[in-house]
Assembly symmetry: C2
Homo-oligomer: 209 residues x 2
């Protein structure tokens, strides 16, 4: 019994839920081979359908990838909110937790992570993706405001949230690119996250140098 037959609903001409299975196959392949080496044909092979089948569900390759991207964003956001629930409102631990989850997702699903950010040029006109990204950043802003004892997000809170985001975003990329090895010294991820949070949320130190 081949892999095709395992996945495809046995004996039926129609497929069950091809759309979902294609998205899942795509996600797997993106992780296995990287977002830029993914082919629709191969996803078809995995799902056990002809190469024309996807086009009943997706306009083109990009739309299929965008579906994977959106699912990834939702997974990532769920991870964030789940993790947040473990810590008391307004604590610095919540900020650290957000960063930890952001990085965990990048390491768990580097392919999808790259899909979400690395190809972001293509997302500009995808309103659903843009909205999702905006919403996620809203969570960070809210946490920063809470942590600073503010009920609303003002310019100062937005700026600090953005600093945190930049930090963790860059750290994620450097981690999945394996650049961290090049530092020459071991790196304690949890300590780094804590340090970032403290440095960004704390008062400005005096300039030196």
């Amino acid at each position: 019994m081949s892999r095709d037959q395992e996945i495809k609903k046995r004996g039926s001409y129609h497929h069950g839920d091809l759309r979902a299975q294609l998205v899942e196959a795509t996600r797997q392949l993106v992780e296995e081979k990287g977002p830029d080496h993914f082919t629709v044909s191969e996803a078809c092979r995995v799902a056990g359908v002809s190469t024309a089948a996807p086009y009943k569900h997706f306009k083109d390759k990009e739309e299929l990838l965008n579906a994977v991207t959106l699912e990834g964003m939702l997974r990532s956001q769920k991870m964030m909110t789940d993790e947040l629930a473990k810590y008391p409102e307004g604590s610095l631990d919540r900020i650290v937790a957000l960063g930890r989850v952001y990085i965990r997702f990048a390491l768990q699903e580097p392919g999808v992570f790259r899909l979400i950010f690395g190809l972001a040029e293509d997302h500009a006109d995808q309103t659903d993706l843009v909205a999702q990204g905006h919403q996620k950043f809203g969570i960070v802003q809210h946490e920063v405001a809470s942590c600073l004892g503010q009920s609303e997000v003002g310019p100062e809170e937005a700026r600090r949230a953005f600093l945190l985001w930049s930090f963790v975003h860059g750290l994620s990329f450097l981690l999945i690119d394996g650049k961290v090895d090049k530092i020459g010294y071991p790196l304690d991820q949890e300590a780094i996250l804590k340090e970032i949070a403290v440095r960004v949320m704390g008062d400005m130190p005096d300039a030196q140098g």
Copy 2:
């Protein structure tokens, strides 16, 4: 007179310097259409040669792209060292300058910037690219050590350099992805860079929240 003839050495069967012209054509196309929409065929059209010609100079598409990547790294590094020369040794301004140039390059050549980092999986076995990346980070480490009054780079200096790198790296990506607009407030790039430098190079503030 067609574009092909302008570029190709007029009247000659051989091409002058096809290798360099292909790299330049590739760079242009990567900027125009993004690294993932670049095709070798189109670079051939731009250079005015047959689609088989590149394979006399490059093993495959990836090797051509790697040449563009390496050139980009060298340009970026030159920008950094040039900018560094403007500020006194050991000053915080040098740290800020490094970040400014890093971001400037990302904004000037977002396609190549993505090539350098976004596809870094493929660079793992390209020793020249890896060495270049390592060297660039060495510059940052050296500056951090100078700024902290150290003559050698120890774990503390390496860690702070890495923090700075993460920050600026993330900021660059968010900028070229247009995510900055989503903050909802205007962003003073120069002020942000300065703030990052001070927060990372200064003493740790007390934790709050």
